[in-house]
């Protein structure tokens, strides 16, 4: 398990636990009593139909959304007790990618790296590695606005991982990726697992997910639905679970 880099060493945790987390928007209930525990070195797939609460759960875990009820603990403390520094240990790939189209790929990475307080020399090395990993070394100085969805997706994932987060939250990481990129993304996620990250990835691509997840969490209408174990493919079991819950 690699130690976190410089500066972030005062904040670390091996486990993230949600207890009875719920979240609602007015009358709409996005999450209802979700309980779960995720440990370092595991990848958890987050499944469920549209509007099941996957993004909301990721939002709550990323500290961006306050839960309306319940608690989330990072190690032995909750987000409030950790303070701002907790966010330096979390990496989020959002549905909307978090990239400035007017800036180049390199500029985007450097801007966020600095915001995360990375030291210049370390940042420079990390940016080069990230660009290579995203397969964008040749286009590092082109504006992100000119990139295809897949290229942006790859860059956004590397942006989220630039600061070496412990908790990795990916919302639909395979959107717009071609087969080769999907393979690379899976390899990247496995690598994160080796490094001891806590990975949660929301996805609809169950066939892809089946190749790398250690466990799955299925949501339906904001509640956890258990996917039955069995020899069948994940998609079939998932379908059955969702239908039974509905």
């Amino acid at each position: 398990m690699t130690r976190p880099h410089h500066g972030a060493s005062d904040c670390d945790f091996d486990v993230v636990a949600a207890v009875e987390v719920s979240r609602h928007y007015g009358r709409r209930r996005a999450l209802a009593g979700v309980t779960g525990q995720w440990t370092a070195g595991t990848i958890t797939g987050l499944f469920g139909p549209n509007g099941a609460g996957k993004s909301t759960l990721l939002g709550v875990l990323s500290t961006l959304l306050r839960p309306s009820g319940g608690t989330v603990r990072y190690g032995d403390r909750d987000a409030r007790a950790w303070g701002d520094i907790l966010r330096s240990r979390i990496g989020v790939l959002g549905h909307d990618l978090f990239l400035y189209p007017e800036l180049t790929a390199r500029e985007n990475l450097i801007f966020f790296g600095r915001l995360y307080g990375m030291a210049p020399a370390h940042l420079e090395r990390s940016v080069e590695t990230a660009l290579k990993r995203a397969g964008l070394a040749a286009r590092a100085d082109d504006r992100v606005g000119s990139f295809s969805r897949g290229m942006r997706q790859r860059l956004a994932a590397e942006r989220a991982l630039l600061h070496g987060p412990r908790l990795v939250l990916f919302d639909e990481p395979f959107t717009g990726l071609d087969d080769a990129s999907v393979e690379r993304m899976i390899a990247r996620l496995r690598e994160l697992r080796e490094q001891g990250a806590i990975v949660l990835a929301a996805t609809h691509d169950l066939e892809i997910a089946e190749q790398f997840v250690d466990g799955g969490l299925c949501l339906q209408g904001g509640r956890i639905v258990t996917i039955p174990p069995g020899p069948e493919p994940l998609r079939a079991r998932y379908r059955r679970a969702v239908e039974e819950a509905a």
């Binding site: 939002g59 701002d84 520094i85 966010r87 400035y100 007017e102 966020f112």
Partner: protein
């Protein structure tokens, strides 16, 4: 990382983006020009400008252009949800506010550099009569408007119908700043200038800016957490 350092990073990022596209400066300046054109029909009669109109023209134009710029700078942060990315960064929240405010102010002063001389030229306002006082009024009035505007625009990013709600919410709250800038400017540019009064308005603006900047810094973190 320090608050000011992070704020400067964000402001510099905004300015880089603006320098690349130049969208805001062009649209806002030309919008300001069309405002001036409209005002000409309202306040110019018999070849002379209605008394005391230039101060009002100057400020209303500034405020309109500023609202436009304000909406757009935050719309940019919405495009790829980057405001969320900023909120996710391990920096203190007020630095996001300060960074956005700083870049907005630089943009607004850029607009004023065009608008103020034009008001002098087109409406015969004696803008060089008391340049320091006028500059101070413009600076503090704009800061007051932008200080509240940045907070409200940032928090409205997650509200629906934000485009119409922003001015509805912003204008009444920033009225003392607008009034102070406008009245101060009026007494500088009037046929019989009254610098004493202009300075009184300047003092009010200092006070207003200090109070509302403090309040905005204080409330930014709680209102941007969802």
């Amino acid at each position: 990382m320090g608050v000011l350092q992070a704020a400067w990073l964000i402001a510099r990022k905004d300015l880089t983006v603006e320098l690349r596209s130049r969208e805001l400066i062009y649209t806002a300046v030309f919008f300001a020009l069309s405002c001036l054109l409209v005002f000409a029909f309202a306040f110019v009669g018999e070849r002379t400008v209605v008394e005391n109109a230039p101060a009002g023209i100057l400020w209303v134009t500034t405020i309109f252009a500023a609202s436009l710029a304000l909406g757009r700078t935050f719309e940019r942060e919405r495009q790829a949800d980057t405001l969320r990315a900023l909120l996710l960064a391990p920096i203190e929240r007020p630095s996001i506010y300060l960074g956005k405010l700083l870049s907005l102010l630089i943009l607004l002063f850029g607009i004023q550099v065009v608008v103020v001389p034009l008001v002098g030229l087109l409406f015969g306002a004696p803008i060089f009569r008391a340049p320091l006082l006028l500059g101070g009024l413009l600076l503090l009035g704009t800061v007051g408007f932008a200080a509240v505007g940045t907070l409200f625009a940032a928090m409205l990013q997650r509200a629906s119908s934000r485009d119409v709600l922003l001015p509805v919410v912003l204008y009444p709250v920033t009225l003392p700043a607008i009034l102070g800038g406008m009245q101060g400017t009026l007494w500088v540019l009037a046929a019989e200038p009254n610098y004493e009064l202009a300075r009184t308005w300047l003092a009010m603006l200092v006070f207003f800016d200090a109070v509302f900047l403090t309040l905005a810094l204080w409330t930014f973190a709680p209102v941007t957490s969802e």
